[in-house]
Structure formats: structure tokens, C-alpha cells
Homo-oligomer: 202 residues x 2
């Protein structure tokens, strides 16, 4: 990939450089994992001086968090899942999760986030803060169940388990199933956690 | 930890050295993760020459697999879970999983295995082979459901999700729950996968 760095002139400018660094960081964190991605390797791929990476992002951790902006808008996803037919909540969430994980652009970023969180306690803390602020808190507010925070923890468990088993460890036959089949497997468990069946609707 | 290496004399001998290397490797893989554990750091902790580590284990991957022998006997665990009251299968499996994960000796080894598998594709492949040979194949043979291989994949998903959310990312409130409460949360999902409810018993 040939990306114009700040050195190649005014036109590309700081925001283009920052974007090139972020893009290289996203790709490398997803593919190499947190530990093996370095400020240097990111600078090299972005075609910029390593010092410039340090100028935009004080540390690898900071760059990691910046690079792993969630590839969806929780403010839209939550009403989409919880609105409409209450019996289809689990199915809509499973559908949304699979769409993001199977998408060639967003999938590797999400899998990379899980990889990074697994390999490094600092990254795990940041992933937790990222999820908690952007998804868990708003989701827990919206969930029509008696213990929404616990339900959100359990939903996270289902999604993290899927990422590990289908996309990272690749257990068969789950890894080779069509996405639609995986949606059908996940939907009933998610439906219960989303208040669809347990009789504890608010 | 002061462990007698081969250099300290005949008495400790090769098997004691090998055991010291394995013990250091188990601790380091669990605590540092796969990437940051090195043959050198293992040799240092075991108090042996690095060449001796290479003599016993040809590569870090080989040492990883040797160090992560599963801390339970699937030959006993499977009949324990599937035998007895069929309505309690999910509860017995959840109980067994939590006992191993909460145990201060076996827990970090299992969590370390998941960490390592997440951070390195080669380790993921080895973890898959290890699980497949020692647990999944015998479990799939014994499971009284219509698609046992898929059920085993889904059980793996549940356990991997729990390890990620409670022990690695530590999502709350799941991370702070008493083990018994986690058993109660997991049991119904596992029960369905173990053929306890879906009406597809053999």
C-alpha cells in the first residue's frame, strides 16, 4: 500500500497522515495481534516517520484504542435490536453480529480487538472500557429484563465465545457453517437474554 | 523459584530438569501469554541452560503444547457429565468447568491456553488439535443429540466465551459473581446442548 505521508508535502497534511497511521494500525492489530504490532511496523506501512506516529499517538496502547473504534453505531444498533417484534430480538442481534463479523472490513477489526484483549492485560482493560462506555451502559439501560447489567455480560459472553470458536480457534463444524446457520444457533440464547422469553419483562 | 537444573548434578537428572522446564513454561505461558514467553525466560526461571530447553523441546510451539496438557481426564469427565440424572447434565458440566477455572492451579493454565490460542495462529491450531483429540472427539461420540459435533462446537463456544468475559476481559457483573451463580447461569444453555431438553435424544 502506498500512502502519502506528511513528508510528501502540504496537500496530504496532518489529518491524512493520522488517517494513514490509523489505517495501518487497524490492519496490523487485526492481523498480527497486539503484541507483535509495533509503532515502527505501523510507521513503515503508513509510510511515515516513526516519530510522527509518536506525535499523534503517545503510546501503542493509545494507538490501539484509537484504531479500534467500534465499526458500528450502538446508538442505532440498540433500538434496531430492541424495537420491532419482541420475539425476533435475539434473531436481529445474531444477524447484526454475524453481519459485522463476516464483513471483510469490520470482521478482522473486531476479531483483532478480541485477539489483542486476550493477549495483553492492558489491552483487555481498554477493550472493557471501550465496550462498557459505548455498548454495555446504553444497552443495559435499554434492556427489558430484571438484571440488565448481567444480561449484557452474558450477551458479551455469547459474542466473545463465537469470535473465539468460529474465527480464532476455528472449531469445526462451527467454523465452516454458513452465516445464516450460525444466526439460527445463536438467536434462541440471545432471545432469552434480551428478555424475550423468561417472563421477566418489565 | 529455585529449581535444581541438570547442571547441579546427577541426582536431579533429565526428568527433573524437564519437569522444571515444563513447570516454568506453564507458569509463564499462563501469566505472560504466548508471545511474550520465550525459551530464554523459561530457561532462566527453571534455572537451566537455554540449550537444554531446546534439547527437550524443539520449539516454543512444541513446548507450549507439552506445557498445556489439559488439567483433567476427559475419559472420566464425560461419563461424569452424561451419566446420572439426565436433567442435571448441564449443571454437572457447568460445575466441572467452574471448578477447573476457579482452581488456583488449573485455572491459570486453562486461561493461558485460551490467551495463547488467541494471540498466535499456530497456537490456535495446536489448541484446536489438543481439544479435538482429547475432548471433542470422545465427547461427540457420547453425546445423545442429533448433531453431536455441532453441539460440541457450541459447548466450546460457551466455555470460551466464559473464559474471555469472566477471566480475561473481566466484564462486570459477571467477573465478580460467585462461582455458584455462574454455574446457575451456564447450566440451562449447556443442558440444551447436552441433549437435555430439545427433544432430540437418541
Amino acid at each position: 500500500m502506498e500512502l502519502a505521508g506528511a513528508r510528501s508535502g502540504r496537500r496530504s497534511g496532518p489529518s491524512a497522515t493520522r488517517a494513514a497511521v490509523l489505517s495501518a494500525a487497524q490492519r496490523q492489530f487485526a492481523e498480527l495481534g497486539y503484541d507483535r504490532t509495533t509503532m515502527r511496523s505501523i510507521a513503515a506501512e503508513a509510510g511515515v516517520d516513526q516519530k510522527l506516529v509518536g506525535y499523534f499517538f503517545s503510546s501503542k496502547q493509545a494507538l490501539f484504542v484509537a484504531a479500534t473504534k467500534l465499526p458500528f453505531d450502538a446508538g442505532k444498533a440498540i433500538p434496531h435490536v430492541l424495537g420491532g417484534d419482541a420475539r425476533q430480538r435475539g434473531w436481529r442481534l445474531a444477524q447484526l453480529v454475524l453481519e459485522m463479523l463476516e464483513n471483510p472490513e469490520t470482521g478482522p477489526r473486531l476479531v483483532g480487538l478480541v485477539r489483542a484483549a486476550a493477549s495483553e492485560p492492558e489491552a483487555a482493560r481498554m477493550a472493557r472500557d471501550l465496550f462498557a462506555g459505548e455498548i454495555w451502559a446504553p444497552a443495559a439501560e435499554a434492556l427489558p429484563v430484571t438484571d440488565p447489567a448481567l444480561a449484557v455480560s452474558q450477551i458479551a459472553t455469547q459474542i466473545l465465545g463465537l469470535v473465539m470458536s468460529r474465527y480464532i480457534i476455528r472449531t469445526e463444524p462451527l467454523a465452516s457453517l454458513q452465516a445464516e446457520a450460525v444466526v439460527d444457533l445463536m438467536a434462541p440464547v440471545l432471545q432469552r437474554l434480551l428478555g424475550g422469553k423468561q417472563g421477566d419483562e418489565r
